[in-house]
Symmetry: C2
Subunit: 164 residues, 2 copies
């Protein structure tokens, strides 16, 4: 593997790792904020899965003799994104949680679609396999969240009526 | 429709409109930045479609006697999000464009999934129909972008080699 190819592969791995660190924070916050038991369980379950993902990706970064970016750098990035996103979203919790969770999953899906292909072409079969395995789980989680749109919309209107 | 229900529906409509304004800026910037003809055509085509979406959603906001948020408010939000996102993404253009575009589409998909359901429950059939129609187009665009992962990964590694 050329130095340039390796640098590109490691950049994708570090991006995936940053997203997993964001996901750890987001799933924990979402599980805590969710009043609805179904949403709470979904986010708590995915928080546990995300701990595995973080470890798997960290190990692949270390296999290339590198170390992941520090969590404190990620925190600043999450804060910057949150500031932008928060302003965009109607202030009702069930809709916001479902949407935030869905967008987070889709961001990870895009990341793993690219990482698996970059790793395959770079000849790193182990990273490609890890990326495909995590991708499968992120897809399932996105589908589960998409299964809550009806309930989120209902709760969202319910929250509006009951807060009046 | 109660005042609370209407307020919630209008909040979802304004969110969708803000996303369409973001999309107008992003698709234009992405079409300009893309060196790859396939990606450029894809973003340019969706920029044209997005002009229709912006108008359709604006008309639904006006049908409820409201006006969309000013574009200058959106610009500040996009800047804040961009600052957070840019730091997360490996610095290669084809991968970044595909991923940014995909995440933007998925954000809009989440928004229209919720808006169509909130509008349906609120008894606003026309908004529900507009939301479902745009949703279909955003899905098709997300699929088209997902069809470019192979090419984006290849270009991404090619860009790394040729810039060495």
């Amino acid at each position: 593997m050329s130095e340039q190819t390796k640098a590109q592969l490691v950049a994708y791995l570090k991006n995936a790792h940053a997203l997993e660190q964001m996901s750890l924070q987001m799933t924990q916050a979402a599980a805590k904020a969710a009043n609805d038991p179904q949403l709470r369980e979904l986010f708590q379950h995915h928080h546990d899965e995300t701990q595995d993902h973080e470890r798997l990706i960290r190990q692949r970064i270390e296999a290339h003799g590198e170390t992941p970016s520090a969590a404190r750098d990620i925190a600043a990035r999450v804060a910057a994104m949150g500031k932008g996103l928060a302003a965009m979203i109607p202030k009702d919790t069930p809709g916001r949680l479902a949407r935030d969770g869905y967008v987070q999953e889709q961001t990870e899906i895009a990341s793993y679609e690219l990482l698996s292909r970059v790793a395959e072409r770079a000849g790193d079969a182990e990273t490609a396999e890890v990326a495909r395995r995590i991708l499968q789980n992120e897809r399932e989680t996105a589908d589960k969240i998409a299964g809550t749109w009806d309930r989120a919309a209902e709760l969202s209107l319910g929250a509006a009526s009951s807060s009046a």
